[in-house]
Amino acid sequence: MRLPGAGKPSPSRISSLVCPPSGGSPGNSSLGPPTFRRPFSSAWLPGFALSTLPLVRLASGCRGGMEETITAALTAPGVSVSAEEREAWMERAMHMAKEALENGEVPVGCLMVYNNEVLAKGRNEVNQTKNATRHAEMVAIDQVLEWCHRCGKNPTEVFEHTVLYVTVEPCIMCAAALRLMKIPLVVYGCQNERFGGCGSVLDIASADLPNTGTPFKCIPGYQAEEAVEMLKTFYKQENPNAPKSKVRKKECHKC
């Protein structure tokens, strides 16, 4: 059954890590005004009284300075997440990608979600760090590791129950990294025809690599068209930091 409005996290303040989609109460709308595409509905989960929802303040101890309330409700065992949740988190990731595009960055957004809590929000930092491996997923992995360190959690245990939501199929490098971290599930938007490591170029996600972590499952296709459009828009602008294409250089010689 699909609950009307359920699975739509408040998309308002990107800097705040808002509540997960499957829990919460009308009170959560105070987290911010509903400004994103689909209106935030306060009519979700009508059967739950406010008092029955375990309101956990994980934030205070683990996120210095950032004020947010994490509502951990209806926690699914392991990483089994409902379709509504997946859609809602993907919408968050899409919003991040959109923001990246507006700021001239590669439009990839990703979230790492553990026990209905966003532990990391990665974005591409290649140009900023001059390190070509700083893809959104790698940045997010480091954020989760840092969170584990701060909260005294065992990274292995945390990653084994973490879901990655990302707008574009992870590349070969990131897919291998996700295997090494033993992340069990990746939900993504569009295919990555250039570098994809979950089937497009190579299938690292399910390959037989006994010394490279564990395989992971993929659920592709969430708002794929929109993710592709954003990438196309970005590549039309061209990355001023990338080396010039050889083809283009030749053309320049001619003219």
């Binding site: 001059k130 070509a132 491996t133 480091d142 490098m173 570098f195 690292i204 690599l209 010394n211």
Partner: protein, 359 residues
Amino acid sequence: MDRVLCPGEHGEENGSVMEHKALPWQIFPVLSDQQSQGVELVLAYAVPILDKKKTSRLVKEISAVYPLEGQQHLRRVRACTDKASPHPLEMLIRLAKPGEEKAEGLHTLSELLADKPVDCGGLGEPFLVHVPAHPPLTRVQFEEAKSHWPTAFHEDKYVASALTGHLFSREDKVKMQTYMKQAVWAAQQGAEKGMKAIGAVVVDPATETVLAVGHDCRSASNPLLHATMVCIDLVAQGQGRGTYNFKSYPACTFSPLGNRDPSVSKAIRAGTVRKSESRDDGLPYICTGYELYVTREPCVMCAMALVHSRIQRVFYGIASPDGALGTKYKIHTRQDLNHRFEVFRGILEDQCCSLIKAS
């Protein structure tokens, strides 16, 4: 295990010894599957040329009908291999289509050239023959290919000299050994800190500068800090950026490039890839033009990180079970990725091997 000294410590001594000693290791290029695999064969129709004088006319007419596009490496006519044969020459007509491989389905000459503007006079009845499906890329492939049907062969001089071991001079190899010794040294330093004994070095071949020395730093707090990833970040730190802090690992070092006069490196080897791809600040894009020496074959993550970093060459000591530059994948040769690079295996193989045994 032999204690390998850091070349910095006893560089001259090592260098002078090496000059007079045969290097106890060999270098092997890690080629693409297309280059290293056997010759794939497909079936084709051929016909005997009974009247030798009509050969050039027949070649012209049949080539116009069946141009063998995509099989430009195949010669149209071959001298008959069977000396006792009643005809001296044989000619290719076209590739066999699926289902035509059976003798009972064999077309006659008139069927093959029905409605075609070809005068079949002087031709015998067609037969099937195995021909190489792709152009041979290496001499070994060429030798095998031409035993089936004559083919053109445009030898890649570079790959050929790599395969015969003539790509690198003795001097080059002594340099390689020096760099790899530094990687082995880094691996040992890492191992002393409880890390996996894997080391890596990034070199700018244009200036013969060591830009980064690193070892494996993976731990529970960061399981992804493989030696290659460490070195990539150290290069970024040399360019004034980077991500990680390696202060607690003194063997992980970089040489700053930020203040360097960009004209220096450009002057040394004008026209290198690096020059044309260098950016406004005179620095190359990430690792463009650089070489990596690493004691073990990189994993998938590290191999793809090297693609993203635009590395030019990778030298490793020994293969890894899940290695991605030769063993499980050849990520450096893939045409569908946006960057390819050269890979060589076997540098200081024994010492790299003993690192693994020790750890």
